[in-house]
């Protein structure tokens, strides 16, 4: 798994996002088969689901949790009287015949590849929240997709999918919240130039000053000013998205910062900013470390070059893992009620969930802080001037 991330990140950081998308195609998927996938926790839900399908009454916490932390094409809000209530989101595809846009309601809440959506003369299925060109006829499980009989990989082709998914919609909501929050705070300063901050500005200013002084100034050094807006944006982008993930109902609850794509973009930004601002001293220490025997220098260069990539990679994994773990814990605790099928567990479940939620509240800020702090640290190292 680790190697796979490395490859992904190398590919992405080299600027070819195609690689990551291509890997989706080769990704393993069981199509109506439950064989040989239980060993992978993350994948298990694919297989388990098919197994549990005959008995709908059995609650499958793994499936529920995986469904909640994964992205989806519709925004599921709740089930009511055996019916799903949710907000359909636009599906945007770049197909062989150009751009196709249709509502996710055409899938009728289906993500098992059972329902074909027709748009622009083309047919698509939603199989585990991935859009494929639908097969002409369903297989023996009623799924409009074909799988390789040996590897169980889906052989159907995927169009380029730039749909407004649940995470994207949540991202937009967070972006709007951030924009409104900070532009309104900025208005205060436009009106009262030298007054002590009040209201929204009073709330925002200590945070902004904290990022500027304790994160940027302390770690980047004398040329910190240029990077303060970026660090502020990273910090509040992560924090607000983390917080939105903690809100258990619409429009929160999406696992945005617990999605590897989001953290990858943020880590990639950190990677680019760090290395494009790298000074002579920085590259010198990576490629030809001074003060070492010549024989060791190339060895260290290899380690250091790997280090260039592992630093942002660790940023990507840390945020993703922390936030996803938080979501999984909360969902697991709530699942206890349904696993034991008794209401008497609910006090325990609710209290534990409350405890974890409060902890997660801390984690939201902490992870935003750590991500920003480490970005600033890496930047500081890259910007360091010759001093000996």
């Amino acid at each position: 798994m680790f190697l796979r991330y490395c490859l992904l990140f190398f590919a992405a950081s080299a600027g070819s996002l195609v690689a990551s998308s291509d890997s989706k195609l080769s990704e393993q998927h069981s199509v109506g088969s439950s064989q040989g996938h239980e060993s992978h926790a993350a994948e298990a839900h694919d297989g388990d689901h098919a197994a549990s399908e005959p008995d709908e009454a059995v609650f499958n916490p793994k499936e529920m949790i995986m469904h909640h932390i994964a992205d989806s094409h519709g925004w599921h809000i709740m089930d009511w009287n055996e019916r799903e209530i949710g907000i359909p989101l636009p599906v945007i595809l770049w197909t062989r015949e150009g751009l196709v846009v249709f509502s996710s309601s055409l899938f009728h809440h289906d993500s098992e590849g059972m329902h074909v959506a027709e748009s622009g003369g083309q047919r698509f299925v939603n199989l585990h929240e991935k859009i494929y060109y639908a097969s002409d006829a369903p297989n023996e499980h009623g799924i409009y997709a074909q799988a390789d009989p040996i590897t169980h990989e889906v052989t159907n082709v995927q169009p380029w999918d730039i749909s407004i998914t649940k995470n994207v919609a949540s991202l937009f909501v967070s972006a709007v919240i951030i924009l409104v929050l900070f532009t309104r705070a900025a208005k205060f300063y436009a009106k009262n130039s030298d007054a002590a901050p009040r209201g929204l500005a009073g709330f925002v200013e200590p945070l902004v000053v904290f990022v500027r002084d304790d994160i940027a100034k302390n770690n980047i050094g004398p040329h910190y000013k240029k990077f303060v807006p970026l660090l502020l944006t990273i910090f509040f982008f992560i924090w607000v998205n983390n917080l939105m993930g903690l809100v258990p109902f619409f429009p929160g609850g999406a696992n945005v910062t617990g999605n590897i794509a989001v953290t990858m973009v943020l880590a990639f930004v950190a990677f680019v900013v760090t290395n494009f601002n790298g000074k002579r001293h920085y590259w010198n220490h990576i490629l030809w470390m001074p003060g070492l025997p010549v024989a060791v220098k190339p060895l260290l260069a290899i380690v250091e070059i790997i280090g260039i990539f592992t630093k942002p990679f660790s940023l990507m994994i840390r945020l993703f893992a922390n936030i996803t773990a938080g979501h999984i814990i909360v969902l697991s605790l709530v699942s206890l009620i349904f696993i034991f099928e008794t209401l008497w567990v609910s006090p325990v479940s609710v209290l534990l969930t409350l405890f974890i939620s409060v902890l997660e509240l801390l984690v939201t800020a902490l992870q935003a802080y750590i991500f920003t702090l480490l970005t600033a640290l890496y930047l500081g190292a890259a910007l360091q001037e010759e001093h000996h």
């Binding site: 995986m66 992205d71 380029w160 994207v168 991202l171 972006a175 900070f182 130039s193 794509a261």
Partner: protein, 165 residues
């Protein structure tokens, strides 16, 4: 592998959203906020510096006012001293002048008394001489009624003259 495989769509939208957000925030939020904060910090620093200098100015002023007060006190002291000495001198002068005047008056009075006394003495002498003359005239007249007696007198007088020479 579902949750650890980055989806292309989300990468696309996250990148777009993040950079749009970065641009908009940098322009409409961070720039004014950071500028305002910096301006305020500068103005606070300036105010602190001004307060510091005002404080030292006040201290200097206080110092100089104390100096002035001290000088004024000294001046008052000196003036008082001068006044006191002048008063003493005036009193002394006055006393001296008065005693001089008094002694002068006394002297004058004595001289006058002396003069009066002399005059009185002279008067008394005159009176006595007149009286003596008158008495002697009467006596002479009484004694010199006869020629003999006159002679006897001349002789006696002659004798006196002789004895007195």
């Amino acid at each position: 592998m579902g949750i650890v495989t980055p989806g292309f769509g989300l990468i696309f939208w996250t990148t777009l959203t993040f950079f749009l957000l970065l641009f908009l925030l940098a322009k409409f939020a961070w720039k004014p906020i950071l500028q305002a904060v910096q301006d305020r910090e500068e103005s606070i620093n300036a105010a602190l510096k001004a307060a510091e200098s005002a404080k030292s100015e006040v201290a200097a002023l206080q110092n100089s006012s104390e100096q002035l007060l001290k000088e004024a006190r000294e001046a008052r002291e000196a003036m008082l001293k001068e006044a006191r000495s002048m008063r003493d001198k005036t009193i002394a002068d006055a006393k001296e002048a008065a005693s001089e005047e008094a002694s002068k008056v006394l002297e004058l009075a004595r001289i006058q008394i002396d003069n009066e006394k002399k005059a009185a003495m002279a008067e008394v002498k005159n009176q006595v001489a007149q009286l003596a003359i008158d008495m002697s005239e009467r006596i002479l007249r009484a004694e010199l009624k006869d020629a003999q007696a006159q002679r006897a007198l001349v002789d006696r007088a002659m004798l006196d003259l002789k004895s007195s020479n």
